[in-house]
């Protein structure tokens, strides 16, 4: 009864606030765009040079000169702005992006994140992830609680090469919403049908259960 990736996206969409500028990473984060509450307006930043990313185009409107950072064809919206990669990362580094959501291989209880390299395997590169985690004011990690082998991805320390240090404050997984406070994982919400014991068992790092822990509200 853990969450699907769509439900993880839905839960994170609840974190959005009116007027937010948001950068969504590849994978689950991208799905969040589908669940933006109708009563607020947020602007999506694509780090390859677009502010105000629209939905995928209709077939007849596909434009090879208009892609997102995941290299998918997209559209602009009224009010969009186009710019260079240098300008794009100027925005990111100067902290103008209100919320960054990205995936991770590992998150440590001190806020470290690893999501770009597995030693011994083919390394494709960090893309914009290191810039994003180094500068974002507000980062949420969207990921499965455990990896394909069933091992916890919430660790006392990251074992993989880091993407960024002490930068993660919130994690939304298929099992739980967890904050990082005082270098410990703090369980704030559990997924419907998931027990706190199951979350404790699935978390290798030190996990504290918040006094006001509650069940996630997901349709």
């Amino acid at each position: 009864m853990s969450l699907s990736k769509f439900q993880i996206a839905k839960r994170i969409a609840q974190e959005l606030q009116d007027g937010y500028y948001v950068n969504l990473g590849i994978g689950i984060p991208t799905l969040i765009a589908n669940y933006i509450p109708e009563n607020i307006s947020v602007v999506l930043q694509s780090e390859n040079g677009l502010l105000g990313m629209g939905p995928f185009p209709f077939k007849e409107n596909v434009d090879s000169d208009l892609i997102n950072a995941g290299k998918e064809t997209i559209t602009t919206l009224k009010g969009s702005a186009l710019f260079s990669s240098a300008e794009s990362f100027a925005m990111i580094r100067s902290g103008r992006v209100d919320l960054t959501v990205l995936g991770a291989m590992e998150v440590a209880q001190n806020g470290d994140i690893a999501n770009w390299k597995i030693p011994g395997k083919m390394v494709k590169g960090m893309g914009g992830a290191m810039d994003l985690v180094a500068s974002a004011k507000n980062i949420i990690v969207a990921m499965m609680h455990t990896n394909k082998k069933g091992q916890s991805k919430l660790l006392p320390n990251c074992s993989l090469p880091l993407t960024g240090q002490h930068c993660i404050k919130k994690i939304v997984t298929n099992l739980a919403v967890i904050e990082i406070v005082d270098s410990k994982f703090l369980l704030k919400e559990y997924a419907p049908g998931v027990s706190i014991e199951q979350i404790i068992d699935s978390t290798a790092g030190e996990l504290i259960v918040a006094d006001n822990v509650c069940q996630m509200k997901i349709d």
Binding site: F58, K59, S64, D65, K71, I74, S85, A86, M126, G128
Partner: protein
Amino acid sequence: MKKVYKNAEQAIFDVEDNSTIMLGGFGLCGIPENLISALVKRGTRGLTCISNNAGVDDFGIGLLLKTKQVRKMISSYVGENAEFERQLLNNELEVELIPQGTLAERCRAAGAGIPAFYTPSGVGTEIAQNKEKRIFDGKTFILETAFKSDFAFIKAWKGDTLGNLVYKGTARNFNPMMATAGKITIVEVEHLVEVGELDPNEIHTPNIYVNRIFEGQNYEKRIEKITTQ
């Protein structure tokens, strides 16, 4: 002082072996297709390519990898093609991975006469190894230097014969900074227009940065992932 060349072959007449070349583009979007093809034809070897990505097996910088003309790639994200991976694993290819924002800023610095700058990107990671660290206002930054390159290969949408450029959509990406950063900047445009046709207020790259320009041919403008509603 004529900047206009007939085609890509003529525009790269002096690109020699072991050159360092910046190439604009993000994925396959906004890449200098004609210049890459001409470089394949020319057979120039030992190249160091500074480019955000490395193309796919049969398009973009992938074409230069297939012919083993590339000695080193400096990129933020690579490996969308099998030949790249094969060469890397066989130590036939050197790869330097750089955070995308740092890659962009090192190009910008080169074109702005800034030899080095501090950035937070990569602090606490292996990117920061052997780099000077410094604290400003309680936060740690690392020192990064401007790139040096012999040539910049740029793709723009429109350009006039003096070298003023306008890009289209997200095909802009790395092109504007790289256009400022090449010792010699060579530009291919989809539409070469007469001086006076571009509004001075809407120019993305001012002509002073452009050394050579030509109208490209047979643009394929391949899309990596066609996603539709």
